[in-house]
């Protein structure tokens, strides 16, 4: 029984961290642009695939292949910003959403041509010998994933709360025109948010691949999980995104342990739909305020 619970927690922490890394990337771009980026999962896929080639096949050392991989994906992220975000031109939110979905399909299709349709993996960084605790086991790579999530979460919170640049980025999402008037270079800020988000997704891809494998088509599904997690946690909140991701993974993991693995999706979504029914803006999202006040700030 104790072993079961601990094993369920291990699995939930490991999977939840993966969801959280994607959710954080979605939130990051949302906080700078109000755009929901459905191509976020593609950054993860590209990171994994590039790393498979550089580290797994060409046998480049880690300290060299990781920066190169991140560099490549960041360039893709900035290119995505160029096609999806046009300050000054009136683009409705739904148009941008469709552009990111299109970009996602384009990236995964291109990846299939550059690489192939097979499943890839490379060796974990610190071996495969599981760490045991009261009969339950966790692989060292999971600890890397959990660690990276905590690191990314804390740096993002600090960046947006305490640095002038982070505040400027948030201002761009609240009101582009006003931010521009105050001397914030909106375009540069938005470009930076895409670059950061791409780097974050790429880092997630690099660190997850030994656990989850990677293939050209995995990005969209991850983006949907990440998006659902950030919706559940409250769109725009970093802490919320991580909480949402862990609620997801804990529900799945405990449903698999105590009910049945085949019913875990059902259990998970029943809970999530109910949460969103009573808290439509998510767990950490801003509370709904009567009148126009709230809409004026957050509406586009």
């Amino acid at each position: 029984m104790v072993t079961d619970v601990i094993q369920a927690i291990f699995a939930a922490l490991s999977v939840g961290s993966m969801y959280a890394l994607v959710a954080l990337g979605v939130t990051l771009i949302y906080n700078a642009t109000n755009i929901i980026n459905f191509a976020q999962g593609e950054f993860v896929m590209l990171g994994g695939m590039t790393m498979v080639t550089l580290y797994g096949q060409l046998k480049w050392p880690l300290y060299f292949s990781i920066p190169v991989t991140i560099g490549i994906v960041v360039v893709v992220g900035m290119a995505l910003m160029k096609v999806s975000y046009r300050p000054g031109k009136s683009t409705s939110l739904i148009t941008v959403l469709i552009i990111t979905i299109g970009a996602s399909l384009f990236i995964s299709g291109t990846a299939r041509h550059i690489w192939d349709a097979d499943i890839h993996r490379f060796e974990p960084f610190s071996g495969e010998v599981p760490i045991k605790l009261l009969g339950a086991a966790i692989v060292p790579q999971s600890l890397w994933v959990i660690g990276l999530t905590l690191l990314v979460l804390s740096s993002l919170v600090i960046y947006f709360q305490f640095t002038i640049q982070g505040k400027a980025m948030k201002a761009c999402a609240l009101d582009r025109t006003a931010a521009g008037m105050l001397g914030i270079r909106v375009k540069r800020m938005v470009l930076m948010s895409f670059a950061m988000s791409a780097a974050l997704g790429c880092g997630a891809g690099i660190i997850m691949t030994p656990l989850t494998m990677v293939d050209y088509s995995g990005g969209m599904l991850l983006a949907i999980k990440g998006f659902s997690a950030s919706m559940l946690g409250g769109m725009g909140s970093f802490v919320g995104a991580v909480i949402g991701a862990f609620i997801f993974s804990f529900l799945e993991s405990f449903a698999a342990t105590f009910v049945s693995s085949s019913l875990k999706e059902l259990v998970t979504f029943i809970v999530i739909i109910n949460v969103l029914l009573f808290m439509p803006r998510g767990i950490m999202g801003p509370r709904v305020v009567e009148g126009l006040h709230e809409e004026e700030i957050l509406g586009d």
């Binding site: 699995a11 999977v15 495969e128 599981p130 086991a137 966790i138 049945s260 085949s262």
Partner: protein
């Protein structure tokens, strides 16, 4: 006047000769809708290449009783609606004698009613059991399906003295198909299923579910899934320290699986076709030469390796041609001749069609493999 009649005679003669020639050389048309675009393009590609190669050889050596064979290829795109309209077109517009084709298990079921209604013999190249179960009068298939793979696997498990197994499968067409067969056939081999749970292809960590197997009295675990799921299964299985023997499905039989799992898959056993292990087969196996010859001819002609799907087309072609040679192209006689195919040694196995079996293969077409020293070895 005399001059005129000579011209007339010449013209009449010319027309007659032409007609006679064309009558003698009237080709037998075969429709072949296969998947040629998208992710599955390599499947239909090998099927088309194989059929073209074999048709060219046959026509060079005189065709079928002097008549050449002509294939009409279309891209069914892996889409049921496209497959349906192509099959209608082949039968009604192109007037084909028979059909060899349909590459995927999801495009096959929707075309069956059309073939049955129009009464055209069809040899399907997709594996799904339901294509021929229950038997449809005009529909045959050549690929091995999970029915005989599961039969072979269970009889092996029984021979190892194992009586209680745990099964895991994914919630998709492939996983469900295997699970259904395992549950249906286990009692025949005196095996009891003591644990049965399902997961999905997207799951990144299934340790909580696998952990539950520890509490059962299972003596072995059978996992039925494809793509990345068997890799995750294997890694998680080792992670939580389960030590029961692992049996996988034939979808796991690949080099990718070995590369991805490394030492963790050592000892894994599975039942699969002979195609990719042909060079390791004993010489006494009648299929060995057929498979190796086919693989070599294909490679010589196209400069690349063929695959199992091309092998299905190879068998379909040979069965159809033998029937055409025997019975001609009258559809009822042709269908009967296909159904009477006995002892044809093909790439996928030894085919024995009968009125109650349009799949034609038995579990003797399947062999057991085990991962030994990081490679697949054939075991008894």
């Amino acid at each position: 006047m005399k001059k005129y009649s000579i011209i007339t005679v010449l013209v009449v003669l010319a027309i007659l000769t032409f007609t006679l020639c064309s009558l003698a050389a009237e080709p037998i048309r075969i429709g072949s809708p296969v998947i040629l675009s998208g992710v599955g393009a390599y499947v239909g590609g090998a099927e088309k290449d194989t059929l073209e190669m074999m048709a060219a050889d046959l026509n060079k050596s005189g065709g079928i009783n002097g008549r050449p064979i002509e294939f009409i290829f279309y891209d069914e795109e892996g889409k049921p609606d496209v497959a349906v309209s192509l099959v209608k077109r082949l039968i009604q517009k192109d007037k084909v004698t028979a059909i060899i084709g349909i590459s995927t298990s999801w495009t096959a079921p929707p075309i069956i009613p059309i073939v049955q209604k129009e009464e055209i013999p069809a040899i399907i190249l997709a594996a799904a059991t339901q294509i021929v179960d229950p038997v449809k009068k005009w529909v045959f298939k050549t690929p091995a399906d999970e029915r005989i793979v599961v039969a072979k696997l269970l009889s092996y498990i029984q021979s190892q003295g194992i009586q209680r197994i745990a099964i895991m499968s994914t919630q998709d067409g492939f996983g469900d198909g295997g699970r259904t067969q395992l549950i249906a056939q286990a009692p025949t081999y005196g095996i009891k299923i003591v644990f049965d749970d399902r997961y999905t292809m997207q799951d990144a960590d299934i340790t909580p579910t696998l952990n539950k197997i520890k509490k059962t009295d299972a003596q072995a675990v059978v996992n039925w899934s494809s793509s990345r799921a068997p890799i995750i299964f294997t890694m998680n299985y080792r992670q939580i320290g389960l030590e029961l023997p692992i049996f996988q499905s034939h979808a796991t039989f690949s080099k990718d699986f070995l590369d991805a799992t490394g030492k963790n898959s050592e000892g894994t056993k599975l039942a699969s076709m002979k195609f990719y292990g042909a060079e390791k087969l004993p010489d006494s196996d009648p299929q060995k030469k057929v498979i190796l010859d086919y693989q070599a001819t294909y490679k010589k002609k196209y400069g690349k390796e063929t695959n199992q799907f091309g092998g299905g087309a190879f068998d379909g072609f040979n069965i159809l041609v033998a029937a055409l040679k025997k019975a001609g192209d009258e559809k009822n006689k042709l269908r009967d001749a296909i159904e009477q195919t006995q002892g044809y040694v093909g790439v996928n196995g030894i085919f024995n069609y009968s009125p109650s079996d349009h799949a034609g293969l038995s579990k003797d077409s399947i062999i057991m493999y085990q991962v030994v020293g990081g490679d697949w070895k054939i075991i008894k």
